[in-house]
Amino acid sequence: MFEQSISTLAQQLRNKDITSVELTRLFLARIAKLDPQLNSFITVTEQRALEQAAAADALLQKGKGTTLTGIPIAHKDLFCTEGTLTTCGSKMLHNFIPPYESTVTNRIQQAGAVMLGKTNMDEFAMGSSNENSFYGAVKNPWNLDKVPGGSSGGSAAAIAAGLAVAATGTDTGGSIRQPASFCGITGLKPTYGRVSRFGMIAYASSLDQGGPMAKSAEDCAHLMQAMAGFDEKDSTSAEQPTDDYLANLNAPLAGLKIGLPKEYFGDGLDSQVADIIMAAVKEFEKLGATIKEISLPNLQLSIPSYYVIAPSEASSNLSRFDGVRFGHRCDNPKDLLDMYMRSRAEGFGREVQKRIMVGTYALSEGYYDAYYLKAQKIRRLIKEDFVKALEEVDVIMGPVAPTTAFGLGSKTSDPVAMYLEDIYTLSVNLAGIPAMSIPAGFAQGMPVGLQIMGNYFAEAKLLNVAHQYQQHTDWHLQTPTMAKGA
């Protein structure tokens, strides 16, 4: 039952084969049993879930509701949920219960989905391994000694282990795609502005984007139907109407032009990962696609550009966590400065502090032009690379990450090695285009994700391409051993 797709479950709910309360209990029981090994949830909202499930059953009873009605899902713990603890993986917000609901979670709730709880993440979404959480590292369900990826590692691990049908994630530099790749699930980072950021705790505002994570492209499409769209509460959200993300899932791929950027297949890419990606590309050729080598010449510059822009914005975005109005405040501050310094030193973890300092430095008088402005110029070049490439091809494919999931603790002492993990994902955020990660095979027992990048607002196209692949392969249907017996 836990392995079923959203549309199958929706059908079973409508057929009264199962109720939403039963389904919800099943997932709650799986969380209780398996999550102690994974640590994928920070908060399990059992009562809220059962209430929502009961309400969903009542709706279904009347023949109402959407496909998502009664489906148990999880939310990354940086979406503010009214009345439910929202920590952002940080001690800073260990006591923060928002009196408001984010647009994303609100829309999904309006669609009738049941919230099982809030998933673990790298603190303030800063990380590629989910080891930077105040609530402890998340383990990869395929191998408990490996990381699940980050920062949406809790959502990815929970889905892979069958602890939730689907989940929300956010992607600032790869935080949906990389954990999706490491955990063998499907994840979509939409075009910047396609999904509202209102109520999403900001890391880097010009890069952050919420998106769906699930077992398949089709499930992601169901979530997108609810999540996407203009929100007047987010000035950067796009007014452009949304597509029907389900309508074209079955469109044939004959004639599809796929671009393979040569920079994505250079040094640093694990050879087994490369083989798996090329095998996946062959599969697309069988489906009628044509392949073209392309170039995204500024790829290497995406790391320095990202690691200036994102920390700069973060240094400002995280200023509001000052111990004055909410969140952690140190004990017995002796004056205002002491309160600021100790509240923030105690509330933020090392990686967050590091990025605040990097960003503060980059924006400082005398350094701004050399760092922030230069990074923005590179960002424009990277964007132009994609725009140019996407005039010639329909989608761009490549690896999501240079390797499969690495060992817990193996890169924590080498931040540069950790940052290099993001080489294939960062540029997509800098350009603002949509991209997906879909399961494409296994290397030494660990999942490998294929990245599919597309043009602005081409989410429906990406979902169609991914869905067609998943109609002809079963990589996305694999289940880790630890998830089975339960």
């Binding site: 209102f198 000035s235 950067t236």
Partner: protein, 481 residues
């Protein structure tokens, strides 16, 4: 040493929008603390700003009024610093691309000359909240009602050379923003606050001296006094061979002194960068032109119209148009009187005198423009003379009723019956035979001087009610014998 003072002003003008610059919360003075706030004003995690287009319209209006370039693409930037009443840890402002670019104002000085003050820029920004140190033993209260209230910061070039010029400039800005209806102009409530950048240099020197910035001065009088004391302070230091420290100072009106707040070394590095939560504001020419076409009459335009339509002197026209409230009072009263010169004299004379005495704003005048006009009508139709009218006006001011009520009740109607006046004059001439003799013997020049004595006697005898316009010719005729 002969010093030249160099002054540049930054004026923070609170725009009179209904809601805040980046949220839907109401803007208002004096509400219970923290009742006029939303998630955005409180800086809650995940809350996002939405730009108030009304503030944009107002800023563009101002830009047109000061002959400025309008920023067709303006960008909001974050000014980062920590303070408890700054909930987000940054103020959203504009830095490199302000909504209003270079402009200027021609400021009329007291001696009737005009001087041109350049305006560097005017940009939109949000206000901070307030820290309340009283009422909280050993703690600070935070009121975020003011947080995200829209401000237009108007930055002048260092073109101002005296305290008087500074005040004239601020008054002109005040007059423009109230004319445009984009600010209520209430300085006591902080709707206009002024930062004064001031330095001295030896007369004739080209380079500027080191400046200080006096923060948050909020009345015309304090601006003038703060400038005088700061000039004196800087001159004393320089003349003793000392050096001015670049710093921020506060003006204390009670002690009439400025004192150091923080030096440049302590100054924040604000780490400005474009706000990623707000898109650049891109205007169309049509939008900008449309606002220009619908701009209300400005003080200088009104002054020109007062000269051409009402034949007022340049001076009178400028004084009357200096505030929209005074201009409106004048025009409303004149609508009743239909005698612009008489109305102008009375608005600038008696009315201004009583307003000043009681430190009242013309909006709070106890005598309405209509009632004021009715009084002047009674001068025009010879019911009372000017002197009596002053007494009637005082009675109206004191709430004794309309002009006609007071004239009736006190029997102040002017004597216009020539027979009665002749009888009155005859009595006076009879009682002052010696002076009459003197008058008749005198030459014309001397007679002119002496006539005042007889007029005075007649007015006294009539208790001021004799119509002076009638008294004079009759008196002259009767004195000739």
């Amino acid at each position: 040493m002969n010093w030249e003072v160099v002054i540049g002003l930054e004026i923070h003008t609170q725009l009179s929008t209904k809601s805040k610059l980046f949220s839907g919360a109401a803007v208002g003075f004096g509400a219970e603390p923290n009742t006029q706030t939303t998630l955005v004003d409180l800086g809650m995690p995940g809350a996002l700003p939405v730009f108030n287009k009304e503030a944009l319209r107002m800023a563009v209006m101002f830009g047109h009024a000061i002959n400025a370039e309008i920023g067709m693409t303006s960008v909001f930037a974050r000014k980062n610093y920590f303070y408890p009443d700054l909930p987000k840890g940054y103020q959203t402002s504009q830095m490199d691309h302000p909504i209003v670019g270079k402009g200027y104002l021609d400021v009329m000085l007291e001696d009737g000359t005009t001087s041109r003050v350049g305006i560097t820029r005017a940009h939109l920004e949000e206000d901070a909240g307030k820290s309340l140190h009283e009422d909280f033993q050993g703690m600070t209260g935070i009121d975020l009602n003011r947080s995200s209230t829209p401000l237009l910061e108007i930055v002048s070039e260092p073109d101002i050379r005296s305290a008087k010029e500074a005040v004239a400039y601020v008054k002109m800005i005040h007059s423009i923003v109230t004319y445009l209806g984009i600010c209520d102009g209430n300085m006591a409530e902080g709707s206009m606050r002024c930062d004064i950048n001031l330095s001295l240099r030896p007369k004739g020197q080209k380079e500027y001296g080191t400046r200080t910035e006096i923060k948050n001065v909020n009345s015309f009088r304090f601006i003038e006094k703060a400038i005088y004391t700061e000039i004196e302070r800087q001159a004393d230091i320089l003349e003793d061979g000392g050096r001015i420290i670049q710093e921020t100072r506060l003006y204390d009106p009670e002690k009439n002194e400025t004192r150091s707040m923080r030096s440049k070394e302590d100054a924040n590095d604000y780490r400005y960068f474009p706000c990623p939560d707000l898109l650049p504001v891109v205007l169309t020419q049509e939008y900008v032109d449309n606002i220009k076409a619908n701009l209300p009459e400005l003080p200088s335009q009104k002054a020109a119209r007062f000269q051409s339509d009402y034949a007022l002197s340049e001076y009178d026209a400028n004084v009357l148009s200096s505030s929209r409230a005074m201009a409106d009072f004048f025009e409303n009263a004149n609508g009743v009187v239909k005698d612009p010169k008489l109305t102008a004299n009375w608005v600038m004379g008696e009315l201004s005198k009583l307003l000043n005495q009681e430190q009242l704003d013309i909006n709070n005048s106890p005598v309405s423009a209509q009632a004021f006009g009715e009084l002047l009508v009674r001068i025009k139709d010879d019911t009372i003379n000017g002197k009596t009218a002053k007494d009637v006006f005082q009675a109206m001011w004191d709430g004794e009723g309309s002009a006609d009520d007071i004239i009736d009740a006190k029997g102040l109607k002017q004597v216009t019956d020539t027979g009665a006046i002749e009888t009155m004059i005859q009595t006076i001439l009879d009682a002052n035979a010696a002076q009459v003799e003197q008058y008749r013997a005198a030459d014309e020049d001397k007679q002119k001087k002496m006539i005042g004595f007889f007029v005075g006697q007649v007015m006294k005898a009539s208790q001021g009610k004799a119509n002076p316009g009638l008294v004079n010719p009759i008196l002259v005729k009767m004195l000739k014998g």
